[in-house]
Subunit: 356 residues, 3 copies
C-alpha cells in the first residue's frame, strides 16, 4: 500500500464545523521557562522593572518575577490558532480580555475555547465565529480569559446556516475585574530610580497624550522567531512561497508582535504602568511587514481607582502604533478611516502604583 493520507494532517475547522456552546480543548501545553522570558526581552527590549528583575519583583510583593503579560497572551492565543483561525479570512477583533493570575517561569499553560457566537455572512461563503478562550496553568487556574471573533471560510457554501447568535460584549472591562493578577504592591519599595520614572497614578489625567518617541524596525527573522516561540502556526507569517503569491506578496507580521512592540515602546512615558490588567478591544488597522519601523503614542482614556485597593490604580489607555512615521503629531482616526501610517489601535487597562 502506498497511499496519501491527507486525513492525518490538520486542515483546521471551517465555519460549519463550529457548534454553538461547544468547548474546544487546544493542543500543545507549553511550559514558560526562564529562556522564554529572556527571548521576550531580546525580541522587544521591554524594560518594565518587575518583569525584568527578580529583586524588584520580590521587593514590591510578587513571589517571583512574573512572565510578561503579553507573552502569556501570545502563548495562549497561539494554541487557539490551529483550531479556530487556520481557515480565517480575517481576525476581526478581541474584547473582554482579563489577566486573572500572574504567570511565572515554570508554569505550564493550556487553552480552551468555547464557541459563543456564530453568524453566517450574507454571501454564504463564510461566517463570523466568536470564541471565549481561556488559558489555564498546571493547577487548572484560569490565568487569562478573552473573546475573539474571526471570519471563517465555509467548506461548502451550501451547508445550512446556524441560528445567528452574537454575544453581548462589554465596551470595556470593569474596574472591579482589574488587579486580580497583581499582588498587593508595596509602594514604598517601588523605587522610581530603578523603575525608570517618578510618574505615578496621580500624574496621569484623562485626555492626556504621550508620544513614546522611539522607533523600532522589524526584520523577518525577528517576527518569525517570536511567532514560533508562541507556537502560532498561521502560515501567513512563515511561508514566503504561499504569501509571495498572495495579496501582499510577502509574509505578514503577527498582529501580537505589533502589540508587544508598541507596549515596549510605551515604556518611554509609561514606565511605571507595569502590568496589563485587561484588553478592552483592539484593531489591527493595517498589516506590518519586515523592514517597517514601528512608532507609538498613547492617550489616557480614563484614570480609575480600583475598589478595595489603595496601592495601585488603573489607566485605561489607547495606544496607537504606526509604521514609518513618528508620532509627535499623534496620528489616529481620520475621516472614515485612519491616518495611513496607523497599524494598531489598542484599548487596554494598565496598572500603576498610586502615590497616596
Amino acid at each position: 500500500m502506498s497511499e496519501a493520507s491527507p486525513s492525518k494532517t490538520a486542515a483546521g475547522r471551517f465555519f460549519e464545523d463550529f457548534r454553538l456552546g461547544e468547548t474546544i480543548r487546544h493542543a500543545t501545553p507549553r511550559t514558560l521557562r526562564d529562556g522564554d522570558a529572556s527571548l521576550y526581552s531580546a525580541l522587544y527590549g521591554s524594560r518594565f522593572a518587575p518583569q525584568s528583575a527578580e529583586s524588584f519583583a520580590r521587593a514590591i510583593g510578587y513571589p517571583a518575577s512574573p512572565i510578561d503579560d503579553m507573552l502569556a497572551f501570545h502563548v495562549v492565543f497561539g494554541k487557539t490558532v490551529p483550531d479556530v483561525s487556520l481557515n480565517a479570512i480575517a481576525n476581526l477583533g478581541y474584547a473582554d480580555c482579563r489577566f486573572l493570575k500572574a504567570v511565572y517561569p515554570g508554569d505550564t499553560l493550556c487553552a480552551t475555547s468555547e464557541v459563543i457566537g456564530l453568524k453566517e455572512n450574507s454571501n454564504r461563503q463564510s461566517g463570523v465565529v466568536h470564541v471565549r478562550s481561556k488559558g489555564s496553568n498546571q493547577r487548572g487556574e484560569i490565568v487569562l480569559d478573552y473573546v475573539r471573533w474571526v471570519m471563517v471560510r465555509k467548506r461548502d457554501p451550501k451547508s445550512p446556516a446556524p441560528e445567528p447568535k452574537a454575544p453581548k460584549l462589554p465596551e470595556k472591562v470593569a474596574v472591579g475585574d482589574l488587579g486580580l493578577a497583581c499582588p498587593p504592591i508595596d509602594r514604598a519599595a517601588f523605587d522610581p530610580a530603578l523603575s525608570g520614572s517618578p510618574r505615578m497614578f496621580e500624574d496621569y489625567v484623562a485626555g492626556e497624550k504621550i508620544d513614546h518617541v522611539d522607533g523600532m524596525t522589524v526584520e523577518e527573522a525577528e517576527h518569525m522567531i517570536a511567532t514560533r516561540l508562541y507556537q502560532n502556526t498561521a502560515k501567513v507569517h512563515f511561508n514566503q512561497v504561499s504569501e509571495g503569491r498572495g495579496r501582499f506578496g510577502r509574509r505578514l507580521i503577527y498582529g501580537g508582535h505589533v502589540i508587544s512592540l508598541a507596549r515596549a515602546l510605551s515604556f518611554n512615558g509609561l514606565a511605571n504602568a507595569f502590568h496589563i490588567a485587561a484588553i478592552n478591544g483592539g484593531r489591527h488597522v493595517a498589516p506590518l511587514f519586515a523592514g517597517d519601523t514601528v512608532f507609538a503614542w498613547s492617550q489616557i482614556v480614563e484614570a480609575a481607582g480600583l475598589p478595595g485597593r489603595n496601592d495601585i490604580g488603573g489607566l485605561r489607555l489607547r495606544t496607537i502604533a504606526t509604521k514609518d512615521k513618528p508620532c509627535a503629531d499623534f496620528p489616529e482616526r481620520q475621516g472614515e478611516g485612519y491616518d495611513p501610517s496607523v497599524v494598531l489601535d489598542l484599548d487596554y487597562w494598565a496598572l500603576i502604583p498610586r502615590r497616596r
Copy 2:
C-alpha cells in the same frame, strides 16, 4: 619579538592526521539549559507535547520535560566539527545513530569520536574518514552514538595511504535498540487533545505517505543563531567573505537545521511521534540557502513493535524535505537523481504511543 603564531590556531585535521582506532576527545563541554530549549522552540516552532510541557512530560512518565532529540544531536555534532570536518570537502552520510538516554535541562554534553574507517581516494588528494561519535552526559552515560563519514582533504598528496578500511554499517537500527531513551509511557495519560492528534501507532501503516502541508522560510539570522547555539564552527555557515567567493556565492545552511525544520513541520501528520529513537541514514541532497522555503512529507517505511514494550511502537519514517515546492505530490527520487526541489532524504525511527 613580534612574530605570527599560526600554530596556536586550530587548522583542523587532514586525512593523513587520522589513525585507525584512535579516539579523539572533542572540546567544549556544553550544558543544555532551559534557555536552549526556549531557543530551539523559537527557531523551529516545534510542538511535540513532552518537549513542550513539563506537566505533559511528567504525566506520561518522564522525570522532566526532555531536551529535543535533535538539539542534543546538533550539540554533539557541533563538537566533532573542529576535529573531524574542518577540512572536509563533503559530509557524505551518517548511520547507526541511536539515542540512548534522554537529555534534560542542566545536563552537560561532551563528545568523543573513534576513527573506524579510512580510505584514500584514487586521486590521492583526499580520503574518506569514518568516525563513530558518542555524546555523553556529566555522569559519563552515553546519550547518543552514531557513525558519520566525511571526505577530507590531504595536507600532502604524496603522504602514504593507510590500509583501506570501511566499517560495516547496518542498513537500519534494529528495533531492539530503540526506546532506551524513552521511559515507560503511561498511555492513559497521553491526552490526544493536548498532544494534537488522536492518531496512535495502530493508525499508521507501511507505505502510507503524509504531506506535512506547511512551509517555513529561512533567514540568514535564523540559521546562524541556531548553528552558533550548537557551537558548530564550520565557516561555510557564517563567513560571507569566504563563501561569497565560493561555489555558491553565499552561506550554506547547516544540514542539521534542515532536519530540525523538517521534523518540526512533520508535527502536522505525526503529532504523537514524540521521540526520535534512531537515525538510520540521511542524505543532504542539495544545499539550502537563506530565503528558501522548506516543505516536507514522510512515508511510513515500517511500523514495528518494540520487544518488551507494549506502551510504544516504532515508526520507521522516510522524511523528504524540499525547497520552494509544496509536497502534495510527494517529490522524491527521479531517474538517477532526485526531483530538483529535494534537499533532504532522511531515514529514521520515531516512537509513538500504542493504543493497545
Copy 3:
C-alpha cells in the same frame, strides 16, 4: 483636556545637566537568567569552557558556570545609556574597567554612574562628560567598575561652562587588580582536551601575534536582538526611519556587539584565556553595519604573573577587529589612522591557567 505631555518621556541629559560629583542611579535592574546565557551563546558562538559547561566550571573551582564577562558588561552599559549617552554625539572611550566579582544566572544587576569629569568644547555646542559606572548585584556587591567618556550636546549653547575637570586615568589596569572575579583555579582539572587547546600562560610571549582566522557575518536581526537583550536603547541601532536620514543611511551596530564577536573569534588561538579581568581601553575605529563580516587578530602586549596567585596568569591583549578583511597580515594603525578595514582596537587583560 487633551494635551501632549512630552515631559513624561525621557529626553536624556544634555551637557549642562551633569554636575561634577553627582551620582546617577540608573533604571531597570535586570536579572540574568539561564536564557540570557543561551542567547549570548547563540548570538556569538562563544566556546570558552567555564562559561559553556557547569561541569567544567565546577571542576576548576567556580561554584557554577559564570555569565560571560562581556554579557555582564553589556547589561551594565545598557543601563547607563538613557541617562548618560542619549544625547551623545560620540562615545569617546573607556578605561580602567575592572571585573570584580563573577556573575551567575539568577543574579540581578543594577548600575550607577558618578560624574568625574566635565569639559565644555571650545565651540560651546557640546562638552565631554566622564563617568565612573559601577554595576552591582542583588547583594550590593560591585561586579564591574569602569570609566567611560562621551561627547554630549548642550541644550543651550549659551548656558555657562562648568569648571573644566578631567580625571586621571591609568594607562592600564594594574596586575594587582586582576583576578578578583576569578576563584582559585584547580589547574589539574583544567582539561585541555575539553577546553580546546593545550596552550597555557607560559606558551604566550609578549609581541606575539595571533590571527584568529575565522570570520562572522552580521545580520540586522542579530545585532538588534543582542542590543535589546542588553536593554540598550540607543536609537541608532534600531530605528531605520531616523538612521536612514542620518550620516550613514542605516542602522549602526552597537560597538559592544563587535567586542563580543571579536572575543568569540579569539577562541581560535586563545582558547584557555577564559576570563576577561579588565579592559584597559578601547576604540571603535569605524562603524560596523549589517552584512559586514568581522575578523580579528590579537597581539600579546604583556604576559604577567598575578601577585599571590600561582594558578593563573594575565595576558594583556590588543585585539583588533576588521570588517570584510581576513587578518592574516595583521592590519592595524597605518600612518595617522588605521587600515580602512579596522573597526575595533581593544586593549584588555585576560586570565589563563599557568602550567606551573
